[in-house]
């Protein structure tokens, strides 16, 4: 009986001191601080979007992505008119290798006047921002904005 307990103690201690075989373990997500556009902002049709964000990671940043899509079906109020077309925007960028912090300020994103030859459908949209680090940990954030024609 004693021997058995000694064996159990031996095996259990093996697990406790089990060599941590994992070398480059990074499971910490990057951090996205999205300053602009902010929740509730309006993006004007035909104009540039003021985009400003800070990306941070404890090891190394890899890539970021912006995804703008409509939020119409969530409400049930706004139906897409046949002569209007919702806008879908996706674009990704890579960070220069070795970066831990990056402040991004760009006016590259432009809200189009027409989509597939039809006028853009205005209304609520989601702006999603994704970011990955070199290890493949991913963070994302989302803000809800309105797309409207400037009065």
């Amino acid at each position: 009986m004693k021997k058995i307990f000694l064996l159990i103690v031996f095996v259990v201690s093996l697990f406790i001191i089990f060599p941590s075989c994992e070398k480059n373990k990074d499971t910490i997500k990057p951090v996205i601080e999205l300053h602009e556009p902010a929740e509730g902002d309006t993006l004007w049709v035909g104009e540039e979007v003021h985009f400003e964000a800070d990306f941070r990671d404890d090891e190394e940043l890899k890539a970021w992505k912006v995804d703008i899509h409509n939020d119409f079906d969530n409400h049930g109020h706004k139906s897409v008119l046949a002569e209007e077309e919702p806008w879908l925007y996706t674009q990704s960028w890579n960070f220069e290798p070795g970066l831990r912090n990056k402040h991004v300020h760009t006016h590259e994103i432009v809200v189009p006047v027409t989509v597939n030859g039809k006028p853009i459908a205005t209304g609520p949209y989601h702006v999603m921002v994704y970011c990955t680090d070199a290890a493949g940990n991913e963070a994302w954030t989302v803000v809800k904005v309105q797309i409207a024609h400037r009065p």
């Binding site: 009986m1 159990i8 499971t27 890539a63 939020d71 990704s92 597939n116 940990n137």
Partner: protein, 778 residues
Amino acid sequence: MKRVLFASAFFMLLLNSESISAQKTYRICGRVVDEKGNPLSMAYVTLEQPVKTAVTDENGKFCIEGLGAAIYHLHISYLGYNCIHDCSADLTLGDVWLDLSMQPEVQKIQGIEISGESLGTRQTLAGLPTEVTQKAEIIAHQRSNLIKSLEYIPGLKAVEIGQGLAKPLIRGLGFDRVVVTDQGVKQEGQQWGADHGLEIDAYGVEEIEVVKGPLSLLTGSDAIGGALLLKAPAVPAEGTFSGEATMAGHSVNDYGAFSLGLKGNHRGWFSHLRSSLISYADYRVPADSFFYNNFRLPIYQHRLKNTAGHERNIQVGTGFINLRSTTRISYSDYFSKAGFFPGSHGIPTLNKIFPDGSSRNIELPYQEVFHKKAIVNQIFYKNGLKWNLTGGYQDNLRREWSKFHTHYPNQKPPIVNSDLELELRLKTLNFSTEAESIDEVAWRVGILVQHQWNKTNGYMFLLAPYRRTQAGGYALYRGGVSQHFHYSAGLRYDYGYMHIDSVFSEYSGQVKSRKIKNSYNSFTFSTGFQWQVSDKLQWVLSLGKGFRLPSAMELSANGIHHGSFRYELGDSALKPENMYQLDAGLFYQGHQMSLHFSPFLAYAPDFIFLTPTGSYNLPDGSPVAEADAGQVFVYRQARALRAGAEFKWVRYWSSGFYYSIRGDYVYATDFDYPLPFTPPASINFNISRTYSWKFGNLSLGTSVNATAAQHRVARNEPPTPGYIVQNLYFAFKYLRYSLMLQWVNIWNKKYFNHIAFYRIIELPEAGSNLQLMITIHF
């Protein structure tokens, strides 16, 4: 049949002529009892050579006289009970008295019984850790679903999707790395799906064998992590008709269930029926908000919206049993409809989780599962062999409904079933034959063939249609070096063929899936040793290999996984996955106590992982066509290591006092990161007291489950804090009535389950739950 028997008897007579020619005659007498010790009258006791039959009297006694001094083999059979084939009587030293105890017939599908069974663990393959659990035990641990009810078995965990659906995880492996068989036929659903649950009626289960190691030798591809072998309903005893009605209710989700079971046997013709109805509403959690990805969102009325569901099952079987064979045809039809918390599909926003006025309705998103299964099985004894023939057909239809949304700018909702996101239909045809010699030293050989068709539909692309064929053959030898030392060794070969159709997406203008025609070969082996050191102590050791063919998802996925929103990319060059597992085990059965300890070590040189690339472009550099996609994940193969142990300590007194401690731990790594879905270490304390009297009994008990935190996480998997939960238990049994009352999570503790489907969106587990179950036998 008779001629063969006579021929073999004559042959044996020649061999045994020496002993037969001895002048003095002896006799074999004995008594046959059932598992409770009641005498069985009219049981057949048959001597192999010379062929002599005796029938037991009303006291279960029999005598066969006029036998020479030799060793005789006997068969004992009784309708509704397992035949005893391995009984021998040594008459060289005089008359023999045999005390024989028969067990009710619970069809052994993949089970080989090896001596040492008294130690509480029966082993399918020598040395492989196996636990057999009966209906009574499953009911005593009843939880929201069948797999959760089995969690008291160390090393087994439930991956739950809300309350109603779950799939098994054995020693950290689950999904399509654990096989579930029902009556010898592998259950085929959508095992790789994150929100797939097991399509089995929890109330219809009578016996389950849980194998915690590679069982590919007997069940083929996929049984890398282990297997759950569900046994066919027991054949009812001759001339009986009985039934059972069960009603159950759970407070946490206003769960109500009714289940009826009927079975009868008339002159060997038997039938059984089981039907269950289950309905549950949205479940309650001990929280009024959850914090996900920097948003704090409310949980209205402490209930998770749209997690209600219902289930409708029917299972019928009929057949014929006689002394030498059992034939059975069974059919089951499972239907379930279960809602998903809307926050788990896409971005959880306030308007999605606002109450809809009813906690029992099921709105979008939800899933529907239809699973139909027909099994034909015949077992017969011929030429000293036990033959087992099984044919099975399964039709699994799964529909995911979600409000039409698209990842392409130009996709319009379909005109018919516009909210049908995904439809997966898998049809499977199986056939297997097995022959096993019924001596102690025995060969067992078998062949299996399986063919599958998978079709897809819906506005979302996840998986291409495919066809898959598998065929395998195996041989297993088990023997004993001495009375105390047994071993088994087996070898298996499998061939697999996979054909995946090419799919072109008109929205992305890309080929989503290229045509794939792959064939696979695989050799598997298993060896095991069992050493009965003394009456009390047993050691076991086994080394086995499990394999798994790459799934259609792993080979050809190319799109956003609904729910997880990951962009998954398959690799058609993936090879079969292999895992080598070394198991050791120690069983100690002392006076009113038992101890069980089983460590293991497993290594896979080619484990298939879904690995994040950190990139938003496909590996060829082209951007992902779909909107709403996160980073690209690719399937790749690399080495992986798993190690861990389970233990169980049970102590009981004749006064009815009982306590047990069970625990498990798994360490799993790919040498860079821990493997995802690795359950944290857990320990379970259980104390109970049973009072018995002439007509019934009463038990009272409490159990405490302590689960450690899990900080060893894969990328994009959140670490989970530890927790302690306490449950109370009360059971009362009087004649034909039994009542069970359980109070689960009595302190209404808020905690997270690391492997739960809703863990990723930071939803806590269900709160305090009062469960009542009443069963009437008639």
